[in-house]
Structures are given as C-alpha cells and as structure tokens.
C-alpha cells in the first residue's frame, strides 16, 4: 500500500483534537463537554457503557452529526460544519457498528467503491470503458487486490456481501475503509460478533495497518482484552461525559471506570 498523500505529520503530533464537544438530541444529551485528542499514528480506544455516546463521538468526528457545542480540529484545521463526504475526502474513513456494506455488491466492488474518491477519469472515458478509465480501473484493482490479500478474503472476492456471515462482513468493511487510504481510521466495534480466532485475526490486521502505514486509529470496542492489548491510550465515556483518559493500565485501575464499566470481573 502506498503512504497517504496528505501533508506529512510526524508521529506524536496531535492529529485530531476534540474540544468541549456537546451533542444533544432534543432532551437526550448524547455528549456533554467532551475533550480529548488523537495523536498521529496511535491507536486510541474509546470505551464506555452502552449508550455512553461512543458512536455519537465518531459521528461528530466525521461530520455525520454536528456538535451542538464545542469544536473539532483535524490536522490543525478547525472545521466548521461539514458534510461527511468532505471529511472522507480529508482522510477520515470508518467502519460501522451495524455493518453498513453495499449489500448487493461483491466484496471486490465494495472495496472498489471505497476507492471512488481516488479515481479521477471523467465521464466520457467511463462511457467507453477505455483509455484512462480502463487504465485507472486496473490500477485500482491491483490496489484492491492487495487489500484483499492482506485481509485474507480472496475466496469471497466475487460473493455478494449480503450473503456473507457477519464476521466476514466486518472484515470487508475494514477493507473498504482501508481502500480510502485514510489518515484517520475510525473503527466502531470491529470485533463484535466474532469468535476468538477471528478477533485475533482482526487484531493482527489493525496492528499491521497501524504499524506499517502509520495510520491513526480510533477504536471502539467492548472486549477489554482487545482494548488493553492493542491501544496506546484509552478514553472512557459514561453518560456522554469523559470519565477517564490515559494508558490502558491507568484506565484499568481507575475506580470510576471499574464502577461504571468494567465491573468486578476484570
């Protein structure tokens, strides 16, 4: 895979900063005054009980929701209200809690669709499927095949994703997000509904993406084992508020986190 073609930031710089973000839906306060940052090339976990506002946080980051208050800075640029596709083009990709694949398309096409923003050939060439259009198609196909190989999903390349079991769908979704060559990858419970073996595979992919391409990752996950093992830093939300932020070890020991989320068993 090629390195992302955005202005280079080095490891450790703040890639994304969330400052005092609040989000309300009528009476429901999904987020209240949350601040944290994500640094370049780290794996940042977001955890918290159900309904704590984790998904809403990701939705704010990539423009699907507009924060009622507060601001979000990405790569040093404070963003006003923006549409999700602008965020995507700026280098933010994500996967979804409820798989949101294009059900009728094959795995290959799903991942190819992820590359739409990288494709440039104009309508005219598309019409004739010749010249630049075909060249581009093949070039990107090569890239996509790399992802497919990487995720070990060659055997389902041409299967419509609607027919795949849940776990594989999650994997294809990751592939689709990777196809965008994002700088920031938001993963919303990528391992839900997987058994251990598959979780291990998935962890492997996430680590590899992170280490090899320096992709920054924000990860929501309920499996504490995964979170503790993979992440560099963890932010904990409860009822829309941030209750802890720190390294996995710190967070694990935090009494509030134990009360609110982990329970006794961990």
């Amino acid at each position: 895979m090629r390195a992302p073609d955005h202005p280079v930031m080095s490891k450790g710089d703040v890639l994304l900063a969330v400052e005092n973000v609040s989000l309300r839906f009528g009476g429901v306060k999904a987020l209240t005054d949350v601040s944290f940052d994500i640094r370049k090339s780290e794996i940042r976990a977001i955890i918290g009980p159900n309904g704590a506002g984790k998904t809403s946080m990701l939705n704010c980051i990539n423009g699907f929701y507009y924060p009622t208050e507060g601001r979000i800075t990405f790569k040093g640029v404070k963003r006003p209200k923006m549409r999700p596709y602008v965020a995507a083009r700026g280098g933010i990709a994500r996967t979804f809690q409820n798989v949101a694949l294009f059900k009728s398309m094959s795995t290959l096409d799903n991942i190819m669709a992820g590359r739409s923003i990288k494709m440039r050939s104009n309508f005219f060439w598309q019409l004739f499927r010749h010249g630049p259009a075909m060249k581009e198609e093949i070039e990107h196909r090569r890239f996509v095949e790399e992802i497919i190989d990487f995720l070990e999903i060659q055997h389902i390349r041409k299967t419509p994703v609607g027919r795949l079991p849940y776990g594989l769908q999650k994997r294809v979704e990751l592939g689709r997000a990777l196809a965008m060559e994002p700088e920031l990858l938001l993963l919303d419970e990528p391992m839900a509904g997987m058994n251990l073996e598959e979780k291990e595979d998935m962890s492997r992919f996430i680590l590899e993406v992170n280490q090899q391409y320096g992709t920054t990752i924000a990860l929501i996950e309920h499996d504490m084992g995964v979170v503790m093992d993979l992440s560099d830093r963890v932010v904990v939300l409860e009822y829309g508020r941030k209750i802890a932020d720190g390294t996995p070890a710190e967070v694990k020991g935090d009494q509030r986190v134990i009360d609110a989320y982990l329970g006794v068993a961990h």
Binding site: F64, M112, I138, R141
Partner: protein, 361 residues
C-alpha cells in the same frame, strides 16, 4: 456440460474485470446480436413494426429507468414525461434544422430530457423512497401539461400532435410514412445496442459503483466520500437521457406521430413495471421486463382465441382482453413469487445451475 467456467483462467485484471468474463456468454451475446440483425430480413412487417421496434424502444426506456431506480434506488414515476421531453425536443430540433441528419438530433434530444430530469432530481437530496415519487410525479403532470399548453412545441400544428416528417439516412427514408419497417427496425436496433453498450460500461465502472453504493446505503456512501447530490443528479441525467432518446424513437420511428397523451402516467408505470419485473439493477433484465410486459400481452392476444376456439368457445375481443388482463396480472404475481428479484435473477440462477449441472449444488 457445455457451460463451464473450468479452464478459463484470467491472467490479468483487465480480462477479469471484463463485463462478460465467460467465453460462452460472449459467444451467446454475439449470436443474439446477429440474430437480431438477421430478423430484419426474415421477419414480417407485423413482427418488426408491432413487436420488435416497440420492444426495443421500451427496453431502452427501461434501461433508462433502471439506471435511476434499479441502480441508484431512486423511485421515479416521471419516465413518461421525460420520454416526452425527448420526443418534443427532437421534433423541435429536426424541424428547426432540417439539414442536419436526424440521427444526430435523436441523440441530441436526450440532452434536453437529461437537463430537465436533473432539475426535477434536485429534491432527491432531501426526499427519499416513495416520497421522492412525488417530485417525479410533479414532473410527470407538469411536463404533460406543458406539452398540451405550449403549441410552440408542436410548431403550432392544428392537430396539437407530433408528426414525423420524412427524414433519410444514406438516402433511405428512416422516418415518415415511406420508411419501411425494416429500415426503422435496423436504426432502432443499432441505437439500442449502442446505448446498451454504453450503459453497461457505465454501470460496471466507477460511476456504476457509486450509484449502487447510494442505493444500498446512502449514509455509508456519503461517509466514504461519495457526493450524494452529484451522484444522484448524474443518475437522473443519464436516466433521463435514455428515456428521452427512447421517447424520440417511440414517436418518430414507431408511431410516426403521436399526441401528448402517449406520455401519460400510465406510460411511466408501464416502464416501471418492466424494470421491476425484469430485475432492478440489471440491464439484461430491462430487456426481459420489456418482453414480458409488452410482448406477452400481444402473444396472449394471438394465442388465447386460438386456444379457446377448439373448445367451441368463441369469445369476443373484449373477453379476450379481460382474460389477457387477468393472465398478465396473475403472471406478474407468479413471477414475483418465484423470484422477487426479477427475471434477470431467474436467469442468473439458471446459469448458476447450468454451471454445476448435473449436480444440484
């Protein structure tokens, strides 16, 4: 055993991304196209004029609507009107510039309906599903009203209708009363094949993927950087282009003159049904759908009396018509139950079974 994937390996991505990767499929397609051309010389005028030409025209319109409804998931009930825009535009163009070959105007007329289509597609950013149908219905009724109310559109004809003046291609009349069914059929066939090929290129490329992405999950598509409005408008424009060309062909190469009323809401429904029955999101399905919805009733009209007469039942044309309605209705339901994803899917399953034949799975 003739239909097998085995032994056909693809060594490069270009070959693997081909629209018909299987050799047998390519062969079959060639045979069908050849047969279609051959038909011009062996078919009688009823077959060409009353069956094949309209069948092709409706197939083209179905492809148009399929791009919008099937591929992009935007329900439209304004197809009839968009076809009308094409027809009226073509009429204005070819009467204003009689010197230019009419084929050019037929292709050009599509651009007018594309523009109008895109205009009425604007609300699609906000409105979805059956609700979007209202925007297209507004188009349907408003445009139809314009067709009646603006006599300029028909060059102030007293009849208030479109007529087809004589136009030639390479010296042979292709439009107007003197054009033979053969030549018209050949022209329509060529245009339809050409446009189908282009559509197939589009839907198999980046643009097609963007359309399908919008259809399957528009929120996710947007979160992946696909601009929803642009993509939807493009679908509206391309779809209307096809409908517009189909409309022009309908009036000038099939009817040879028509009133505004042929572009009414029933026409819109008619095309929609072809698309659904044929298979949403399938080009070949558009042809199947057109065949089932348009040709089946004709066949029934011929076959039914012949079937009933041996039993000494001679029934009137009206009873035949009633039976025809009932049978077509029942068949539609039947096909939907057998395969809700349309005839195209049935075709696919058939091919899959053939691939593994003689084993069931």
């Amino acid at each position: 055993m003739l239909y097998r994937e085995a032994g056909q390996f693809k060594t490069n991505y270009a070959a693997d991304s081909a629209i018909f990767p299987l050799r047998q499929d390519r062969l079959g397609l060639g045979v069908i196209i050849l047969a279609a051309y051959a038909l011009a010389f062996i078919g009688n005028s009823f077959l060409l004029q009353a069956v094949m030409i309209p069948f092709l025209v409706f197939s083209l319109a179905s492809i148009g609507l399929n791009i919008l409804t099937g591929y992009t998931g935007l329900l439209s009930l304004g197809t009839g009107a968009f076809m009308g825009v094409g027809a009226y535009a073509c009429y204005k163009l070819m009467t204003a510039f009689p010197g230019v070959n009419v084929i050019i105007w037929i292709f050009a007329s599509g651009f007018f309906s594309a523009a109008i289509g895109a205009l009425f597609g604007l609300p699609s950013l906000r409105i979805k599903g059956f609700y979007l149908a209202v925007a297209t219905l507004a188009a349907q009724f408003f445009l139809q009203w314009c067709f009646i109310r603006i006599p300029w559109l028909v060059n102030y004809n007293v009849s208030g209708a479109l007529d087809a003046p004589l136009r030639t291609l390479f010296g042979t009349p292709i439009m107007g009363p003197n054009a033979t069914p053969q030549t018209r059929y050949l022209v329509v066939l060529t245009i339809v094949i050409l446009l189908t090929w282009l559509a197939s290129n589009l839907v198999h490329g980046r643009i097609g993927r963007m359309w399908i992405a919008i259809r399957d999950m528009d929120l996710a598509a947007e979160l992946m950087g696909i601009r929803p409005l642009q993509t939807k408008l493009l679908a509206f424009a391309v779809s209307s282009y096809y409908c517009g060309v189909a409309g022009a062909l309908l009036v000038f190469l099939w009817y040879g003159g028509a009133e505004y009323d042929v572009f009414n809401i029933n026409q819109s429904f008619f095309i929609l049904f072809m698309v659904i029955i044929g298979g949403l999101g399938s080009l070949i399905g558009s042809f199947f759908g057109a065949a089932l919805i348009f040709i089946l009733p004709i066949v029934l009209g011929i076959v039914l009396p012949a079937m009933l007469s041996p039993f000494g039942i001679s029934v009137g044309a009206d009873v035949i018509e009633h039976l025809r309605f009932m049978i077509v209705g029942a068949l539609i339901i039947f096909f939907l139950i057998v395969e809700p994803h349309g005839l195209a899917r049935l075709w696919q399953i058939g091919k899959q079974k053939l691939l593994v034949w003689p084993f069931p799975y």
